[in-house]
């Protein structure tokens, strides 16, 4: 089942296009990695998909029953959050905000959902701890649990492993892969091309040229060869 389809999308700031001619689609259970050089418009693309920015042209179409209640987002951390007085519980619960509608307080079912997702991410023990005192990897798990409260179907992750050490990075990738196996669709921006090739089912490479297709097709494309020579050389 197709969950998201972008057709001839062009995006950018104040009328100036950063990217144009973006075509891709995502089906239930896919694991899509968005790769490309710095400044190629990966984050802008994600913001446009999320509806934080208006596209300059083209269409974004959501599948049956998708939108708003069905997307979980893991943003890059902001400076404000690093010094924010909030417990893990408060943050995870805020992932249910789209479910409350006009109701001012969280229901029992929503609290139960938050509890379940904290367990899923292995952070139940930290529930009463302060977010700012956690390690980088623990903080990412908290934000992932929050995103899971917002969705059962589709997660959008903006560089979920940036700033994490190799061991924690590997754990994070395992967690995400585990979610994907539970039929959660993943769309992830990644700097780490080797991990992208290892875990993803599809690749969207943005920049001057745009590639979209399965990992296998990507690996034999001339674009990937050029990119891997420059980027992969640094990371390997």
């Amino acid at each position: 089942m197709e969950q998201l389809q972008c057709k001839d999308l062009s995006l950018g700031y104040e009328g100036r296009a950063v990217l144009s001619g973006v075509n891709f689609s995502v089906s239930a259970g896919d694991y899509l990695c968005i790769v490309g050089e710095n400044g190629s418009g990966k984050s802008t693309l994600m913001k446009t998909i999320l509806g934080l920015m208006k596209p300059l042209g083209g269409t974004i179409r959501w599948g049956e029953g998708m939108r708003e209640n069905e997307i979980g987002y893991l943003p890059q951390q902001t400076a404000v959050q690093k010094d924010f007085p909030a417990t893990v519980w408060e943050i995870v619960l805020s992932g249910c905000q789209s479910r409350t509608g006009r109701r001012p307080f969280y229901s029992k079912a929503e609290k139960e959902l938050a509890r379940k997702n904290m367990e899923r991410m292995g952070i139940t023990a930290f529930a009463r701890r302060c977010y700012r005192q956690l390690s980088g990897g623990q903080q990412q798990r908290v934000l992932l649990a929050r995103a899971l409260c917002a969705t059962q179907k589709l997660l959008l992750l903006d560089e979920p492993v940036s700033g994490l050490d190799p061991k924690v990075t590997a754990e994070m990738y395992d967690l995400i892969q585990g979610l994907n196996r539970e039929d959660v669709t993943i769309i992830m921006i990644s700097h780490d091309i080797s991990a992208a090739l290892h875990f993803a089912s599809h690749i969207l490479h943005v920049g001057h040229d745009i590639f979209f297709g399965t990992v296998e097709a990507y690996q034999s494309s001339p674009m990937a060869k050029r990119f891997l020579d420059t980027e992969g050389g640094e990371n390997a």
Partner: protein
């Protein structure tokens, strides 16, 4: 000393001052955390100057109840400042500075040109530092204060979860379909109401202190958003009560006494935080 206090407390104007002082202190502390964390402190500061300008205009126009003029003006400016502040950061800062300093200058100019009062500098001092205005409240003003502060508390409680969500992560909230702009507007309007209320207590120059100090003190010690909010409310009310009582007994100006107590509380909280961190 207790006898003197008991005697003062039997005066209706002292009772009014205590009731209104507690309510204003409660309201102003609630949004402090949000204001500090959202980097909205500058809007609070700018708005207090706007409120001064509006107060001067109201004085010149000889309005019987100046709050009815000052409140809509301040709310309007809150909306304007939020609009400009969101688009581009630097321009927003400059806009706040322009509006706030402009309002301050125009207010003083108007007072000088058109004032009928014989004690101009006394009037200005009262508006800026709230020296005695809390003790000269009319019954209508007290009721207006009670009504507005109850509204602020109710709105805060109803939207507590959304305010938290919008403060912690705007982008995530927006991606979830939460109407972030609407909530930012709501926060700005509530701040404007709080500022107009607090002008009675501490005067327009000291309002930011009333909003920011309790929140900053609570953030030293508490780790949850709820804990910080409850603590800053309790702390703010305690400091206001202490400040008013001290100022009545000692004959000091109410506003600056309250702020002095707030500062003392902040220092105490900082020391406790430092000691617990050292011990743990």
């Amino acid at each position: 000393m207790m006898d003197m206090l008991r005697q003062y407390l039997s005066f209706p104007f002292v009772q009014y001052a205590l009731v209104v002082g507690v309510l204003i202190a409660l309201c102003s502390s609630l949004l402090g955390v949000t204001l500090v964390l959202k980097r909205f402190s500058f809007i609070g500061d700018g708005l207090s100057h706007v409120a001064f300008g509006a107060m001067a205009v109201a004085g010149v126009l000889h309005l019987t109840n100046d709050m009815l003029f000052v409140l809509p003006m301040t709310v309007l400016c809150a909306i304007l400042l939020l609009r400009t502040g969101q688009n581009t950061k630097i321009k927003g800062d400059a806009a706040v500075a322009m509006i706030s300093v402009g309002a301050l200058a125009m207010g003083y100019l108007l007072l000088n040109l058109f004032s009928t009062s014989s004690n101009l500098s006394g009037d200005v001092c009262t508006t800026l530092f709230g020296s005695t205005s809390i003790l000269t409240l009319t019954q209508a003003e007290v009721w207006l204060c009670v009504g507005l502060s109850s509204a602020v508390v109710v709105i805060f409680l109803l939207f507590y979860n959304k305010i938290f969500a919008v403060t912690f992560d705007e982008d995530f909230a927006r991606a979830c379909g939460t109407r972030v702009e609407a909530y930012n507007l709501l926060i700005a309007i509530v701040i404007a109401v709080i500022i107009v209320l607090a002008m009675n207590l501490v005067g327009s120059l000291l309002i930011s202190a009333l909003i920011i100090f309790p929140a900053m003190s609570a953030m030293r010690l508490f780790r949850s958003f709820r804990g910080v909010t409850v603590c800053s409310a309790a702390l703010s009310v305690t400091c206001a009560l202490l400040g008013i009582l001290i100022s009545i007994l000692g004959g000091t100006p109410v506003g600056s006494t309250i702020v002095a107590v707030d500062i003392a509380a902040f220092l105490i909280f900082s020391v406790i935080a430092w000691l617990t961190r050292k011990a743990g």
